[in-house]
């Protein structure tokens, strides 16, 4: 019999309660000081609605873009050989490891009108930095590794016999991709999509430098929370935070279910 169950579980639960659960419960407690009407009028104000729409809407688009390009990148990394492949594989995790403030100022400099990429877009009349398009770029950056690192192991473990069997039966490469490979990697694709979406919706550091932060135009919800705090409007900040937290919990639940599905589907 291995010892230490009581003490390790006890310590785990106490530490979890102290650092995570009690502080979050405090947020809900604070929000309960608001009446439902007050809560609703804060959340449904034009500025709040717009900030939530920007955060969740652009996160959805960014996650969709990452889904497409992330899958392409995984395919290239797993199936093909090309120069620099190992380095590209290693740097996928940059958005995990690079502090968000550093990413923020780097992306802003890159996409500013005098930046390496921004200057290329000026002739086409496209402005990226200090517009919602800039927010989108930051959210794509931050979400990319979630899609790649979720789909990569599944594609690596894909049994080659399945594809060979399909080929023997006369299927084309496109048919094999859509009928054999896509169904197998779908749970992983959706998990990666949901993870990227969840991360992007709450993202702050990499966005605020490039966003321009104009109320009702390019203001994200986490920034509005910070602004309300600085104005000492604690109830406004709390109400917005509760909405975002509930969205996170819903997403977390969905991701858990997706991962279970993924494990069943791939038999791991």
């Amino acid at each position: 019999m291995i010892p230490g169950f009581g003490i390790t579980l006890g310590l785990t639960l106490s530490w979890l309660a102290l650092i995570v659960l009690i502080p979050i419960a405090g947020l809900f407690l604070k929000s309960s000081e608001l009446s439902l009407d007050q809560f609703w009028s804060i959340v449904s104000s034009r500025r709040s609605l717009h900030a939530l729409q920007i955060s969740f809407g652009l996160s959805l688009i960014a996650a969709a873009i990452n889904l497409v390009f992330g899958t392409l990148i995984v395919w290239a990394l797993v199936r093909y050989e090309f120069p620099g492949k190992r380095i590209f594989d290693a740097i996928i995790d940059i958005p995990f490891a690079l502090p968000t403030a550093v990413a923020g100022i780097a992306l802003t400099t890159l996409f500013a009108e005098n930046g390496w990429l921004g200057s290329l877009l000026v002739p086409f009349g496209i402005k990226v930095a200090f517009t919602p398009l800039g927010i989108l770029m930051a959210l794509i950056f931050i979400g990319l590794p979630f899609v790649v690192r979720t789909v990569q192991p599944v594609l690596l473990d894909l049994e080659v016999e399945l594809e060979e069997a399909a080929t023997t039966l006369g299927a084309s490469r496109l048919q094999i991709f859509t009928k054999v490979i896509v169904p197998i990697i779908t749970p992983a694709l959706l998990t990666g999509f949901a993870l990227a979406f969840a991360r992007a919706a709450g993202e702050y550091g990499s966005v605020i430098f490039i966003a321009g932060n104009l109320p009702n135009v390019s203001e994200i919800a986490p920034l509005l929370i910070v602004i309300r705090l600085e104005e000492f409007k604690y109830s406004d900040a709390t109400a917005l935070a509760v909405v975002m937290l509930l969205a996170s919990f819903t997403l977390l639940f969905a991701i858990n279910r997706l991962q279970q599905w993924s494990e069943v589907r791939t038999g791991s």
Binding site: L9, V160, R173, G205, L229
Partner: protein, 290 residues
């Protein structure tokens, strides 16, 4: 036709041996996919990283070093190192304790407990800071008590440490739990039956088995702790030379249009990120060959 799939076999070894004739797309399709992947990764990952170092050294080495040795920068570096040391140490102990409870024993609600440990991953960093403002701020639940006893939590070291610890909470635990689950309890049971104490078993059997995963978890936790911006920004109060960590110092310099100095400090954190990724690659190889 496919190579055997071992649990600890490396990625390269797990790639099924290709039978080129059947499994290859046409060259045009292949090169289009590779080109799109390379362009996308270059735009979103390579160029931002390159910009950091180009801007940092845009006026040469001397101004670069000058920006890093400015008293405010040095104070930010010191505070960042201190905060990371405390938060990583706390989460290292927690990660080991939690992984032991979760991987070596069966109990109801285990899945839910793991979800709770992962919770900080899916919370906006701004909210991770806000919760402590609501607890310890002037209007907060414990605000009155803290003021009466002249204890500073917000806009001071304790608040920054708390916010950082919350944000980095799951990092060590989630590296350890899957590995320790996979390793099971046989070795520990053998050690115990041979008369080892619980602590001896932990230090002589369990810890050596998970040392690389533990190191990787600590590295990730450290990178995130040193780079945390949103949560720390909310609780720190931005007092120059006192409660500014490196990411906050970067923001202040940038907003004052001191771009070179801002990128100089940023380059130190970018280098840390690169070293973390290199360490990851090395650790992956080490575990593959053992």
């Amino acid at each position: 036709m496919s190579v055997a799939i071992g649990t600890l076999a490396g990625r390269e070894h797990r790639v099924p041996a290709p039978s080129p004739r059947r499994r290859r797309e046409s060259a045009a399709v292949r090169w289009t996919i590779v080109a799109i992947a390379v362009v996308f990764l270059t735009i979103f990952l390579v160029l931002p990283l390159a910009v950091v170092f180009m801007q940092a050294f845009s006026r040469g080495v001397r101004p670069y070093l000058g920006a890093l040795t400015h008293p405010d920068a040095l104070a930010a570096i010191r505070l960042t190192l201190l905060v990371a040391a405390i938060s990583v140490a706390l989460n290292l102990v927690f990660g080991l304790v939690a992984a032991w409870a979760i991987s070596k024993f069966e109990f109801p609600g285990k899945g839910f407990l793991i979800t709770l440990i992962d919770l900080p991953f899916s919370i906006s960093p701004v909210i991770s800071g806000l919760v402590f403002v609501l607890l310890f701020g002037g209007q907060g639940l414990f605000g009155g008590y803290l003021q009466a006893h002249d204890i500073k939590v917000l806009f001071a070291l304790p608040g920054i440490v708390l916010a950082t610890t919350l944000v980095t909470f799951p990092f060590v635990a989630r590296e350890l739990i899957p590995l320790m689950k996979e390793q099971g309890t046989h070795e520990e049971e053998a050690a115990i039956s041979l008369g080892a104490s619980g602590l001896q078993t932990f230090f002589r059997v369990t810890l050596p088995n998970v040392k690389w995963a533990l190191l990787y978890g600590v590295l990730l936790c450290n990178a995130r702790a040193m780079g945390e911006f949103g949560a720390v920004s909310v609780v720190s109060g931005h007092i120059r030379g006192e409660t500014n960590t490196m990411p906050l110092h970067i923001e202040i310099l940038y907003n004052e249009y001191q771009f070179m100095a801002s990128f100089a400090v940023a380059s130190v954190l970018a280098l840390l990120a690169l070293l973390t990724l290199i360490a990851k690659a090395v650790l992956e190889r080490t575990t593959q060959h053992s």
